[in-house]
């Protein structure tokens, strides 16, 4: 395994210490396997992808494995520009998280609630708070971050890779490779 995603388990905003239950970092193999095993996974991507556009291509690769994508903020634009909108749904992150906490929600495609959500490319403080909402109000959904930050309110996360763009891309590629297997 090329990238050690278990290092640097420090919240990206250092004072973001919620309480006794804090995320563990996992390697890409475990994270990939958990996502692959999910029955109703949802990839949630945000507007930070515009600062690292290569990530749109990686999200599309994940989308092509059959995992639907929720494009939050105006990130749908990145998918439209790449001609990939097949299973991409435009929705705000906060209403999406609000729906995710309701067990009776039928999902973006009407086929039922999700069991695993995977966040990437979202303004750190915002995604941290949304993970917290799920952590506290719908614990049936597994919270995974494949963002470049250590996400303290997730169940599973990478350590901080915010200052290692190549390493981060490599880590995401490793997850994608597992999903494609």
């Amino acid at each position: 395994m090329a990238v050690d995603t278990t290092k640097n388990a420090v919240p990206f905003e250092m004072a973001q210490i919620p309480g006794p239950e804090m995320a563990k970092t996992y390697n890409t193999k475990v994270i990939g396997a958990i996502i692959k095993k999910a029955k109703r996974p949802l990839l949630v991507v945000g507007a930070e992808f515009f600062e690292d556009p290569e990530m749109f291509d990686k999200a599309i690769e994940i989308g092509k494995t059959g995992i639907p994508i929720a494009a939050t903020a105006h990130s749908i634009k990145g998918f439209i520009e790449r001609g990939y909108t097949d299973n991409v749904h435009m929705i705000g992150l906060q209403p999406l998280t609000s729906y995710l906490r309701f067990k009776d929600w039928n999902g973006l495609d009407g086929n039922g609630q999700y069991d695993v959500v995977i966040f990437a490319g979202i303004f750190y403080k915002f995604s941290s708070a949304m993970f917290s909402a799920l952590k506290n109000f719908n614990r049936d959904i597994k919270r995974i971050s494949i963002d470049r930050y250590y996400h303290v309110n997730a169940n599973m996360t990478f350590g901080n890779l915010a200052f290692d763009q190549d390493g981060y891309h490599e880590a995401v590629d490793e997850v994608i490779a597992i999903l494609k297997k």
């Binding site: 903020a73 749908i76 520009e81 435009m90 906060q94 609000s98 303004f123 917290s132 506290n136």
Partner: protein
Amino acid sequence: MDKMEGSFAVEDMQNVQINIGDVVKEAEEWDQPMGPYPCPSISTLRNWDFKLLNRYRVFYSPICDRCTLCTYGPCDLTGDKHGACGLNQAAQQGRIVLLAVLMGCTAHCGHGRHLYHWCLDKFGDIPFNMGDEILVDAPLTRTITGMKPKTLKEFGPVLSYIEEEVAQLLASTHVGQEGHYMDFESKALHAGMLDSLGKEVSDMIQIISYDMPRGDEDAPLVECGMGTLDKSKAILITYGHNIAGSAEAMFYTEDNDLWNQVDIGGVCCTAIDNTRIGEGLGYPAEINDKYRMIGTKGKVAGAMGWWRKLVRAGVMDCVMVDEQCVCTDALEECSARKVPVIATNEKIMLGLPDRTNDPIDEIVDDLVNFKMPGVAIIDPIKAGEVGVRTAIGVKPNRADEAAHTFLSDEEFQKYAESCTYCHSCQFVCPPHIKIGDVVQEAAKGNLEPFSSTYEICVGCRRCEYVCPQKIPILSMFAYANQEFIKNHKFKMRAGRGPVKDTEIRRVGAPLVLGTIPGIIAIIGCANYPNGTKECYDIAREFVDRGYIVTTTGCMAMDMSIYTDEEGKTIWEQFPGGFDGRNICNIGSCVSNAHIHGAAIKVATIFAGRNERGNYDDIADYILCKVGACGVAWGAMSQKAASIATGFNRLGIPAVCQPHSVMYRRAFLGRVDKKEDWEIIDARDGSRIYCEPAPEHLLYVAESVEECMLMMSKLCFRPSDNSQGRMIKLTHYCDICMKYFGCMPPDWPLYVRHASELPLKWKEGMMKELEEKYGWEIDWKRKAIIVPEPGSDKPGPIRKTDVSFDPTNIERKIRVKK
């Protein structure tokens, strides 16, 4: 027996005293009966709150999973755990929200109470007169309390009402009191409403006392920006929100003809209020005779985000702080630069010696000779004189310091090269500036990154606190932006105050029918996620589109520092009326109340609703019929929380910036729950399923693009007529096409009739409705066929009905079915 004021003794009756507290005059001037809820107590409007909260579900995103407020704790409340007292996570979040809203509310109300006493002392009991064009003169006071103050003193009972409610609300947060999140939120909504009332009282008092503009769309343009402060003079900065001391500094300067020796620049809302003094209708005479248009001599140094940038740019010789949103290390920052600080309000004394009763000459001597870094003077007149004299006196004494305001070339280079690229700064930067990269580039001689991120930096200084090399990053920013600072010169329209009744008459019908697509209220602080320019972009987008754009506080100041291709600020590009394609600077934070007031006045002046003690009826009208949306794109303080919550109780949605998740809660609708959107038709009591309009009440957006899209969407109302709906839908779709590159996926929800489809895309949309959504289209008539009620066929949620009279309140039903 000694007699108290307001008491009299009855002769021949021994030891009997009859006390008369207040003489309650039945106000003969009211032309309407008292409504059902004058001075509501903390649960009086609970039914209204629950209507809101059942539709707009409370959404919590805890920042802390623990409770540490009593000795049982810390308690872990994560998930379904309860604390030792029994409280669960949702209730704890509601409790924290309520506390935050109370902090904001009391900041505004405490401000009002201070001004009340001070202005009564200074001016006496002056008439409350807003001029001939504002007869509905204190709409929140009338609606909430049922009172109609006629003099300054008559605002006293209004403040007393707020203070009693605040005491009860705060008591409910004690351990073992309130235990359910819905009730905490109802109480938070109550506190938000009180906040709006406190703001109105505060601003009305200062408007009538200092003769500020009373709804003047042509309020003067004043100077704004760091570069407007003249370094050849002494510079006195007045910082905070309460004008009392700052106004006295301006009066002293005028009385002693010192404007050629001193510049007075405001920071935060004191800046806005300085520039409003003496620009009103000419009364009270004391202000008009001596200080007519004195406000135009004050300058807006900057919004709160510019404070530390001003410090590092060296544009101050003396600072007076008053209250609210003052960086509490102001004394440390200033004393390091030999800038004396004068604390002028009991709420911020900074550990300074109280010199209120000392002779002015002695205090000035101590300050100008640096015998002490600052003083507290809780007497506005004395503080104002000391501020001006100290600024003038200390300027030559700190000339050496001023000469070294900026880092030298060598110092800058040394600091840039000392960066170890450890990224500690980047870990704490709120807008995520890649500070390490910026500094590294500077070490190579490239200052561009320091320039391009200067306006993105919110001036929080967290980077400096964590830097292991002790690099003064803000000073490096200042060094790299010296030209920018020098040229930072703009114009801002002075705060105009309330909206005039005549303006409401002009826009009432187009607003309720939707042909003016909405009122946009751009309010709040300066903690922007991506720089100050976004507030200009938001304003420009909506003014261009014909919305009524209103603004207050820091965002009003920050949008002033951008110009169009012709070099015109937004105030020079558009008129200042309350109308479509206009932009109003209403005033400071407390002037926000006039935006609530404008919405209330649509209900009262345009629709003839009685406002007196009738809050829920008015709020219901606004929620159903007045397309208004607030945006706090730099929301930072607890006041922003109380402001938004006050808007929400009055039926006005608000959108906030992504950092606003720190407030922990939102109010979000569920489109998939049809039953949540059932509205009563007041004509006959029938219940109609409506489109989700507005869909949310409090919403955090991730990007400014999403913010603008949501603002346009949250202006939809059930009462829109077809033309109005078409206009609103056009903007909603157009903003989405512009920034998202596609149509919004939920646009069909808002279509009731083919005439509501935007002309630009009408044909394509009809095809999509037919092919993708299965709606029945009559292509010959180009009409949408609305299925019969109860039918399973796909189609619009309801048909258009121009007479539909939506309400959420049963007592508004005129004839029961």
